[in-house]
Structure formats: structure tokens, C-alpha cells
């Protein structure tokens, strides 16, 4: 709250500095605005930036890191009574001290005797530290704002190149934003790698990548900690691959053919109605596809296969019939088909762009040779668009293996090593979800396994995306 008020005050201060400097520039011009190197507004903006930006930066940094700094200052001195406590209890003590200092509800543990005194002392210290922190930061930002004005304002003159200076500031701000985006990505990647390393300390990468049995629950029981083979991810990879394959079997032909229809056959009117419809399909949240799969597609597939099974029992194909009778709602086929439907607009709009980028002169050349539309599509347009279409399909594959919601709701949880599309399978993403939902301790191999899976998924999709984008870019260059 105090921080927000401070920022608002700073903004008001910058605004008045702007007005002041602008007026000063107008005065410098002595009525002939053309005699100024830069428009008065640039002078105002430049001084206002010096007044506002460094101070705001300090305040924002404090808002992000202040609490952590205060916390470590608080813990610098551990009272003897606290040092005797077990590690988790110490954590609770520290968080209670901060909570009481901030006026929040502490845990229900009652502190008596020396610990109680220590708590009271540390609470008081925490309060003091937070006041010191806030006051010093506010003072520092005030000084920075004043210094900015005092240094910048006297430099205004007729020939001062405020316009170029403001341009420089704009560059700095834009670079800062893009750096932030890059740093965030690096940070995510770093934490993923770091946590995965911890996982691979307890389970060897070879066991993880090539083991064929996945049962992380075993590791929860202390008598079987990290039992060998419990973290073999092959069944997950196979399940992911199976569902991706089914999804692409649906999405690739349907998406590609609808793109061909839209770009080569459809008239402008049809195109204008179908394209937005496909785009709506692309905007449906995946959780909606998820319950469509779980509540509509799954049960109807099951009913269908059970019906076929009932027809076959006691016939020559009795075993197959018996099996089909036992098919459940959750199966790779359901998840794959619905995921394929989800990917259709993705594939078709990417392919549509790519087919449209095939130069008209090639179509004209083919028609002028007496080729029909379908001959032109098959023999000229598709070969020309092939690299781009391959790239689009790879992007779709990478979305399919990263897709979570549909498989969580429709594929199942059992890690089976099977290629049967009617069986329940589980995928990498589903396992990450199940490993991390609910209360988890963050250093058991079971939880860390999620990071191992995450890193694998990340590596595969990243590689796919890089290759795919390379294809698409090369294709674009070919026809520019």
C-alpha cells in the first residue's frame, strides 16, 4: 500500500517536472519555437524521465526483494532457544515471527518460556526492520528524484538535443522489457534444470529414460524409497506418442484438406464464413475439449466397442468380442481423437497461410498447361508447399505432446506399456499434473520426478519447434 502511494506521488512529481521543464523550454525559445533544437515536449519528457525512472526502479526493486532482504536480516541472529528446535520447527518459528509482525494470523503453535520471549523479541525486530527498510527506500528514491531534476534541468538550452536523448531513453526502456522476457525464460529453464538435477541424483537418467515401469507411489513408502524401476518413464513416452499419433492421424489430413479447400476451391463468400468458424474452434479452451472427451466421446466410443464386442462373442472371433466388451471410457483413442479435433484449426490455418504463400504464377503456369485444379494441387502446390506444411505439422506434434487438459480428463492414469488405442494409457503431462497436485513435499523423488519429466518434454518440444520453424522460414525465403 505504502509502495503504491509512493509510486503515485512519484508520478505526480514527474508530471509537474514535465510541466515545469516544458515551460522553461518555451521560455528559452523566446517566442520562436523553430529556434529550439527539439520541441518543448521533448525537453519536458527528458527531465521528467530523469526525475521518475531511477526512483521508480528503486521502489519496485524494494517491492520485489525487500521482504526477502528483511527476512534474512531477521535470521542473521538465531536465539539459543530457537537453535535447539528441529529444522521444520525453526521454519515455523520464523514464519510466525514475520506473520505476527505483519499483523497476519500465525500458526496455532503456542510458544512458552524462552521460546516465547525469543518470539516476542524477533517480532519486535521484524517490525523495526520493515520500518527501517521502507523509510530508507523512500528517502533514497526521494533523493534520486531530486538529484535527477537538479542534474537534468540546468542542461536545458536552445541547442539541447532533448529529442535524441528521449529516443535513447525509449531504446533503454524497450531493451529492459525484452531483457525481462528473456531473463524469465532463462529463469524457468534454470529452475527446471536445477530441480531435474536433484531428481537425477536419486534416480539415474538411464533408469528414467529407459526403465519400463512407472510407479512413483511406491517411493512414498519409506520401506521402498526410490525402488528401482519405479521411475522408468518409457510407458509415459509410449503413451504420449500413441496419443500424438492418433491425434495427428485425425488432424493432419482433415486440417490439410480443409486448408486446400479454403485456399484453392472455396469462393470468397465460403472462405469468409468458414475461416472465422475454424478460428472459433481454435479459441475453445482445452478444458472444454477435455470434458467433451470425457463425457461425450469416451462413453460413445465405449458403447460402440461394447456393442461390437457383444456381436462378436460366441462367434469365431470370441476372444476379440470378450475383449471389446471390457473396453472402458478412458482410452488412448478418445483422448487422441479429441486432441486431433482440437488441432484441426491449428493445422489448417498454418497450412492455409503456407499454401497461400505459393506464388500465383505457379498456379497460372499449371492451369495454362491444361492441368485441372486437383492436378495443380497435387503436382505443383503441395510439392511447393511441402517444407512449410511439414513445419506446420511438426508444430502441431509439439502441441500434441505438450497438451495436458484433454489427456488428464480422457486418457487415464495407469502407466501401461501398450500400443493398443483402446487401452487406457497415461502421458508425460498427465503424470506431471498428478505428481504435483495436492500437498507435496518438495524434496521427495516423487515430486522431483515431475521436473525430470518437464525437462524431457521441454527438450523435445523445443527441438521440434526449432526444426519446424527452420523449415517454415526456409520455405518462406524460397518464395520471397
Amino acid at each position: 500500500m505504502t509502495i503504491l502511494i509512493a509510486l503515485a506521488l512519484l508520478a505526480a512529481f514527474s508530471a509537474s517536472v514535465y510541466m515545469l521543464s516544458r515551460r522553461r523550454a518555451v521560455a528559452l525559445a523566446e517566442g520562436r519555437s523553430a529556434s529550439l533544437h527539439s520541441l518543448p515536449g521533448y525537453h519536458g519528457t527528458w527531465v521528467a524521465l530523469w526525475a521518475g525512472v531511477p526512483a521508480a526502479l528503486i521502489i519496485i526493486l524494494f517491492a520485489i526483494f525487500g521482504a526477502r532482504i528483511e527476512d534474512s536480516a531477521l535470521r542473521a541472529q538465531v536465539p539459543a532457544a530457537v537453535a535447539e528446535l528441529p529444522a521444520e520447527r525453526q521454519e515455523v518459528f520464523w514464519s510466525d515471527a514475520s506473520a505476527i509482525a505483519r499483523g497476519q494470523t500465525p500458526s496455532e503453535i503456542s510458544y512458552q518460556g524462552p521460546i516465547g520471549e525469543a518470539l516476542a523479541a524477533k517480532t519486535a525486530e521484524a517490525r523495526r526492520l520493515s520500518v527501517i527498510g521502507l523509510v530508507s527506500v523512500l528517502a533514497l528514491s526521494g533523493v534520486l528524484a531530486l538529484c535527477g531534476v537538479l542534474l537534468a534541468y540546468p542542461r536545458l538550452s536552445k541547442d539541447f538535443r532533448a529529442r535524441n536523448r528521449v529516443e535513447g531513453w525509449t531504446g533503454v526502456l524497450l531493451i529492459a522489457c525484452s531483457t525481462l522476457a528473456v531473463l524469465t525464460t532463462v529463469g524457468i529453464l534454470g529452475s527446471l534444470i536445477w530441480e531435474s538435477m536433484r531428481f537425477f541424483q536419486s534416480v539415474s537418467p538411464a533408469d528414467f529414460l529407459f526403465g519400463t515401469s512407472w510407479d512413483p507411489q511406491i517411493a512414498m513408502r519409506s520401506d521402498q524409497v526410490a525402488a528401482k524401476g519405479a521411475f522408468g518413464a518409457v510407458p509415459l513416452f509410449v503413451g504420449t506418442f500413441l496419443i500424438m499419433l492418433i491425434a495427428m492421424t485425425v488432424a493432419a489430413p482433415v486440417g490439410l484438406f480443409s486448408a486446400i479447400y479454403l485456399s484453392e476451391y472455396a469462393g470468397p463468400g465460403t472462405r469468409a464464413t468458414i475461416k472465422p468458424l475454424l478460428e472459433i474452434l481454435a479459441g475453445v479452451p482445452t478444458v472444454v475439449y477435455g470434458f467433451f472427451a470425457a463425457l461425450t466421446v469416451g462413453p460413445s466410443f465405449r458403447a460402440f466397442f461394447n456393442w461390437v464386442g457383444a456381436m462378436l462373442v460366441e462367434g469365431p472371433m470370441d476372444p476379440l468380442g470378450q475383449y471389446l466388451m471390457t473396453v472402458q471410457n478412458q482410452m488412448a483413442l478418445t483422448a487422441g481423437v479429441v486432441m486431433g479435433i482440437m488441432l484441426i484449426p491449428f493445422v489448417s490455418s498454418l497450412s492455409d497461410d503456407i499454401i497461400n504463400a505459393v506464388p500465383q504464377t505457379l498456379r497460372d503456369g499449371s492451369y495454362a498447361m491444361g492441368a485441372t485444379k486437383s492436378e495443380t494441387v497435387k503436382r505443383v502446390i503441395l510439392p511447393a508447399a511441402l517444407p512449410g506444411v511439414a513445419g506446420a505439422l511438426m508444430l502441431a506434434v509439439s502441441r500434441a505432446i505438450g497438451e495436458t487438459m484433454i489427456v488428464t480428463m480422457a486418457a487415464g492414469l495407469q502407466a501401461k506399456l501398450t500400443a493398443n488405442p483402446l487401452d487406457t494409457v497415461t502421458t508425460v503431462t498427465v503424470q506431471i499434473v498428478t505428481l504435483l497436485t495436492g500437498d507435496q513435499e518438495f524434496d521427495s523423488p516423487k515430486t522431483l520426478a515431475a521436473f525430470g519429466l518437464g525437462l524431457t518434454l521441454f527438450t523435445v518440444t523445443l527441438a521440434l519447434n526449432i526444426v519446424a520453424l527452420g523449415f517454415v522460414r526456409k520455405y518462406r525465403e524460397q518464395y520471397d
Partner: protein, 277 residues
């Protein structure tokens, strides 16, 4: 006025005299009467009538936007592929109207080849580019026959010597001038009767242009060629007959020499001497 114009020296030097032997005038291959073309509501051609002889080169000249390409596309019905384009009037090849309901444009276009402004080889090998037409029209019954057609077409297009050792290289790996000759080879591989060329040299350098012009002069022995060009010198060099278009109308058509030395219309003369265009 008229007499003074007949006495004028040629404005532009025209093709060798042998091509203008009046005794050897070919009968009309293409007869066009009162053709109007509309793009939506906009009229691009206004009652154009012209006779185009076989086995000779007819050049269409005129300022850009005057409808030369549009007119060329009427002859092989390429305007059908442009949404909103409507063609009226009679366009007869050997006495048969191309817009007749019984005429399949796919068959028509095998008879009327077309070469475009920008070389447009397909993303296939040199061989497959030339084999494209014979394949889709089922012209060759065996592989060796197909190879024979490809070789003969490349030879006619004057490209064989340059590509015979790399028929499997992509067509796009050739230079611009070679690509344009490849496209001509592709067009003549289906043995058309007419070849339409829409500014075939405007994307080429002078040397490549000279080679294409030589090629056109050779092909004249066998095909009826209609060429659109923005270069009057080119029209004078390669064509036997010239037609001048202006603002959607055919202003004047006749033997090339006559058009360039003694045009009947003052607008033609203005264009040829560079006063309009």
C-alpha cells in the same frame, strides 16, 4: 497529310524483309469478334475484333493497363480462373468457338500454350518440368517416349545443350533466361498449335532477351505465336503483324512494317514515337 506519312522513313527498323512476303500470308488461325471483358463492373476490353494468322508472330503493344494481358488470357480461357471476370464475344480457333459449352478449357489449354512474364518453373527437376504436360495429358505411352519428348522440347527451346547433363537438377536452379526457355520447352512439350507469351522478356537481361527472340523466330515455323511486349523494338524485331491497344480498345492492327512506318491512326503514331504511353 496521308501522303506525307507514307513518305516518312521507318520510325523503327523492322524484321528482315523475308517475313513480309505478302504471297505467303497464312490463313487466320484465330478469329476474334467483338470481345468485351469485365472485371466485376469494370470494363477492361471494349469490342475487340482481330484476325491472327497461323505460323507467324503477332505482337500486341500498348501502354500498360490497356488490356493486352486480359486479351491474351481470353484466347486460352485463363480468365476463367480469375474470380469476377466475364468475357463476351466470339473467339474462334480454326472456326471453333473456345467459349462453346462443349469445349473443355483443360483440353483447350493443351492446344494453346502460355508463357508468362516471370519465369515460373515448377518446384521439380528440369526433366519433370518439361514432362509435366505430357504426363497430365497422357501423351507419352512409355518412359522412353517421354524422354524423347522432353529431349525434343528442350532442343526446340534451345536449352538442351546447357542442361542435358543435369536433367535432375531443380528447374529453379537455372538462370532467369534459362528458366524462361525451360518454361517455353514445357509449353511446347504438349505440341500446342498456339503459344501465347505475355511480356516473356521483361524480367530478363539483354543477352537472355536476344536468345528468347531468336527462339521465337525459330518457333514461328511451327506455331502460331502471340506475344505481348512493352518494347516496340522487340515487336518490330520479332513480329510479322502488330496490334496496338489503347484504353481497352484495339486501335489498329496490320503488318508490323506498316504499323511502324505508316500507321493509319494518329494515336498509334503518338505511342510509337513516345508521345503517349
Amino acid at each position: 497529310m496521308v501522303t506525307s506519312m507514307t513518305l516518312q522513313p521507318p520510325l523503327i527498323r523492322t524484321a528482315a524483309p523475308h517475313s513480309h512476303n505478302p504471297a505467303a500470308v497464312e490463313p487466320s488461325k484465330i478469329v476474334i469478334r467483338d470481345v468485351n471483358v469485365f472485371y466485376g463492373a469494370k470494363q477492361a476490353l471494349d469490342s475487340v475484333s482481330i484476325d491472327i494468322p497461323g505460323r507467324s508472330v503477332t505482337a500486341f503493344i500498348g501502354p500498360s493497363g490497356c488490356g493486352k494481358s486480359t486479351f491474351l488470357r481470353c484466347i486460352n480461357r485463363m480468365n476463367d480462373t480469375i474470380p469476377g471476370c466475364r468475357v463476351e464475344g466470339a473467339i474462334e480457333i480454326d472456326g471453333a468457338d473456345v467459349n462453346d459449352k462443349t469445349v473443355d478449357p483443360v483440353v483447350l489449354r493443351a492446344k494453346v500454350g502460355m508463357v508468362f512474364q516471370k519465369p515460373n518453373p515448377f518446384p521439380k527437376s528440369i526433366f519433370e518440368n518439361v514432362a509435366y504436360g505430357p504426363r497430365i495429358h497422357g501423351i507419352a505411352s512409355s518412359k522412353s517416349e517421354l524422354e524423347g519428348i522432353v529431349e525434343a522440347s528442350l532442343k526446340k527451346a534451345g536449352l538442351w545443350a546447357e542442361v542435358s547433363d543435369r536433367l535432375n537438377a531443380p528447374g529453379t536452379s537455372l538462370s532467369g533466361g534459362q528458366q524462361q526457355r525451360l518454361v517455353i520447352a514445357r509449353a511446347i512439350a504438349v505440341n500446342p498449335e498456339i503459344i501465347l507469351m505475355d511480356e516473356p522478356c521483361s524480367a530478363l537481361d539483354p543477352i537472355a532477351t536476344a536468345r528468347i527472340e531468336e527462339l521465337i523466330d525459330d518457333l514461328r515455323q511451327q506455331f502460331c505465336i502471340v506475344i505481348v511486349t512493352h518494347s516496340m523494338a522487340q515487336a518490330a524485331r520479332v513480329s510479322q503483324r502488330t496490334a496496338f491497344f489503347h484504353m481497352g480498345r484495339l486501335i489498329e492492327a496490320g503488318p508490323t512494317e506498316e504499323i511502324f512506318t505508316n500507321p493509319r491512326e494518329s494515336r498509334t503514331q503518338d505511342y510509337i514515337t513516345g508521345r503517349i504511353g
